[in-house]
């Protein structure tokens, strides 16, 4: 038993917010244990007020460099709902392929660049190049393919340019879709190799469980392991769901002293969102290869080990590759239609308020906007997945720390950091400036 522990993982730089872990144990008694997010609020909602509906997705796509497609799609769904703008089935399907590309980009980044160093005990991915060169090359290849995939359907690997109100400004050709299918088939062996490596170090995934409410989208018609359509589901709700328009009833945001980011709760004091939440609500709808991967890791429906979120992301990678190949077959069997929109998109049909929801890589994301009849934005509300996970991270800490107090301070710190990383948080994604000094 450690009698005295003092952990302070603490970084505050100019405008970037960061997460802090603070642990104080004195004479074996936990005096302070906090997950703090001292992030300066960025008020993106105020930035879109007064802008035309045509500009919204372009602006919000810059909120984040990793979830830019996700923010674009949540906003476009919300504004199309508010303004009564319809979207063709083909555009809808191609948008889903964009989202899949971003899920893949983000998941493989998290698994390969953040989680892998944890599993191998290295400080970053750079030393892994010499230690496990084939694995790093496989990670880079899969990530590069995901980038090319996003580039093809969204016009850029990030900050998409093809999404407009009512549809898309362009759709890939049949030949390009076939090439994408082939690229995806080509990375199956790499994805399997990555899974084998993660499996070989799976013993280093802490065995920790805490019964948790998991919240995600769920689509019943047709039944789909969904990232895009459907209603809000909770593992605390059995089969009942909540329509996206009532998302405020699920994401009950509240303010706590230890964090400038809002926390959220629904049926309990906290809930979790992300890959593990999706898997717990939709496990039976995973693709066959994804189910095989889940079985390899012993990942089953009902898992409440937050560290397994990274494995759930890996399982989803197989689902995304396999499902996309099938979706493209479906698109091409129907025949691609020439129905691209002009750059301004379709005009508003009515004034109104609307909500849009998609599964970001790190969990359910809500956007809501109100527009006047000319399409000018009057109000906006955005609720990000990481914000919804903060309270749950704190609750995990509170159960975990007493269970590992007999370990060294170094190991305790490592397990707490790994726990935060397993949620794949998006804490400070708006700035990446260089901070350098010149070598004399």
């Amino acid at each position: 038993m450690n009698e005295n522990i003092n952990i302070n993982v603490h970084h505050i730089t100019r405008v970037e917010g960061h997460g802090n872990i603070v642990v104080n144990v004195t004479n074996g008694r936990i005096e302070k244990l906090q997950w703090q997010v001292p992030e300066a609020p960025r008020f993106f909602e105020s930035m879109v007020r007064g802008h035309s509906y045509q500009d919204i997705q372009t602006i919000v796509s810059r909120i984040c460099g990793i979830c830019s497609i996700t923010h674009s799609l949540a906003s476009i769904k919300a504004l199309e709902s508010a303004l009564g703008i319809e979207v063709s089935q083909q555009a809808d399907v191609v948008r889903i392929l964009m989202l899949y590309a971003e899920e893949m980009q983000s998941h493989i980044l998290h698994i390969g660049y953040l989680a892998a160093p944890d599993f191998f005990g290295t400080p970053s991915v750079v030393p892994l190049v010499s230690r496990a060169p084939a694995t790093v090359k496989a990670i880079v290849k899969v990530h590069r393919t995901a980038n090319e995939w996003a580039n093809l359907v969204a016009g850029r690997p990030t900050h998409p340019v093809t999404i407009v109100p009512g549809g898309l400004t362009r759709v890939p050709t049949e030949k390009q879709f076939r090439q994408l299918q082939q690229s995806l088939r080509n990375i199956f062996p790499d994805a399997k190799a990555i899974a084998e490596v993660v499996l070989s170090v799976a013993d280093s995934i802490p065995k920790f469980e805490r019964p948790t409410e998991y919240v995600s989208l769920k689509q019943t018609s047709p039944p789909t392991y969904t990232f895009y359509h459907g209603d809000i589901a909770s593992t605390d709700l059995n089969d009942a769901t909540l329509p996206v328009s009532k998302w405020h009833e699920a994401a009950n945001e509240y303010v706590v002293e230890q964090s400038t980011a809002k926390w959220a709760k629904w049926h309990r004091g906290s809930y979790a969102v992300g890959a593990l939440a999706r898997l717990n609500n939709n496990y039976e709808l995973l693709s066959p290869m994804a189910k095989d991967a889940a079985k390899q890791f012993g990942l089953v429906k009902g898992c409440c080990n937050p560290y397994m979120n990274t494995v759930a992301q890996l399982v989803e990678c197989f689902h995304l590759i396999e499902t996309t190949i099938g979706i493209i077959d479906g698109l091409l069997t129907k025949g691609l239609k020439d129905e691209t929109c002009l750059s301004g998109g379709k005009p508003p049909v009515k004034a109104g308020r609307g909500a849009g929801c998609v599964e970001a890589p790190r969990g359910i994301l809500f956007h809501e906007y109100e527009f006047d009849k000319t399409g000018k934005c009057l109000a906006a509300d955005i609720c990000i997945p990481t914000g919804q996970n903060h309270a749950n991270i704190q609750k995990d800490f509170e159960k975990l720390l007493p269970e590992i107090l007999d370990q060294s301070e170094k190991d305790i710190r490592q397990k707490l950091e790994m726990l935060v990383r397993s949620y794949d948080p998006c804490i400070s994604c708006s700035t990446h400036f260089l901070d350098v000094k010149f070598v004399q």
């Binding site: 993982v9 970084h11 730089t13 100019r14 405008v15 960061h18 997460g19 960025r42 008020f43 993106f44 930035m47 810059r62 909120i63 984040c64 460099g65 990793i66 830019s68 980044l109 998290h110 660049y113 953040l114 400080p123 970053s124 991915v125 750079v126 190049v129 010499s130 790093v136 090359k137 880079v140 990530h143 590069r144 980038n147 580039n151 093809l152 016009g155 850029r156 690997p157 990030t158 900050h159 340019v161 950091e417 935060v420 990383r421 794949d424 948080p425 998006c426 804490i427 400070s428 994604c429 708006s430 700035t431 990446h432 400036f433 260089l434 901070d435 350098v436 000094k437 010149f438 070598v439």
Partner: protein, 157 residues
């Protein structure tokens, strides 16, 4: 611009977030440069926004990469400095909780380790005046943007 174009040997990449005032200077410059694409047909101009890790793929196996970014260098706001990775050390503090915080010099290091880093990588760092929320550059940077663009163009001749 879309990157569904031919991959050229030379790439000019603008990094930054255009919602955070001067943090977006790299993107503002590369957007202006894109309008001169006719003068530089063999160069790719890419607005990479705040997608830090994508830099790895954008520079891979090129002959020359020019990266334009907002840089805290301890200089007067608006100052531009041209440098290579060997001439600086990063003093950026990262928590390593999240991939949303990126040290570009580390990405370059990974690219070298993978054997796909361009032999020539040039940075143009521009000292910001403000990083507050807002879609406009500070006046200090806005009035100097033409000279920054000229400096990058000289690198392309």
């Amino acid at each position: 611009m879309s990157e569904r174009t031919t991959k050229n040997d030379v790439v000019v990449i603008g990094l930054g977030n255009i919602l955070m005032s001067d943090e977006g200077i790299g993107v503002h410059i590369v957007r202006r440069l894109s309008s001169q694409q006719g003068k530089f047909p063999d160069v790719n101009f890419i607005d990479a926004g705040s997608a830090g890790m994508n830099l790895l793929h954008l520079i891979a196996n090129r002959k020359k990469a020019i990266i334009i970014d907002c840089a805290k260098m301890g200089e007067k706001p608006g100052t531009v400095r041209r440098f290579t990775a060997d001439e600086v050390v990063s003093i950026k503090h990262l928590t390593h909780f999240t991939l949303h915080e990126i040290d570009i010099l580390q990405v370059l290091n990974l690219s070298k380790q993978l054997g796909e880093c361009p032999p020539e990588v040039i940075f143009f760092g521009i000292e910001p005046e403000t990083l507050k929320l807002g879609q406009n550059l500070s006046k200090t940077l806005a009035v100097q943007i033409d000279s920054h663009i000229s400096a990058v163009c000289e690198e392309l001749i």
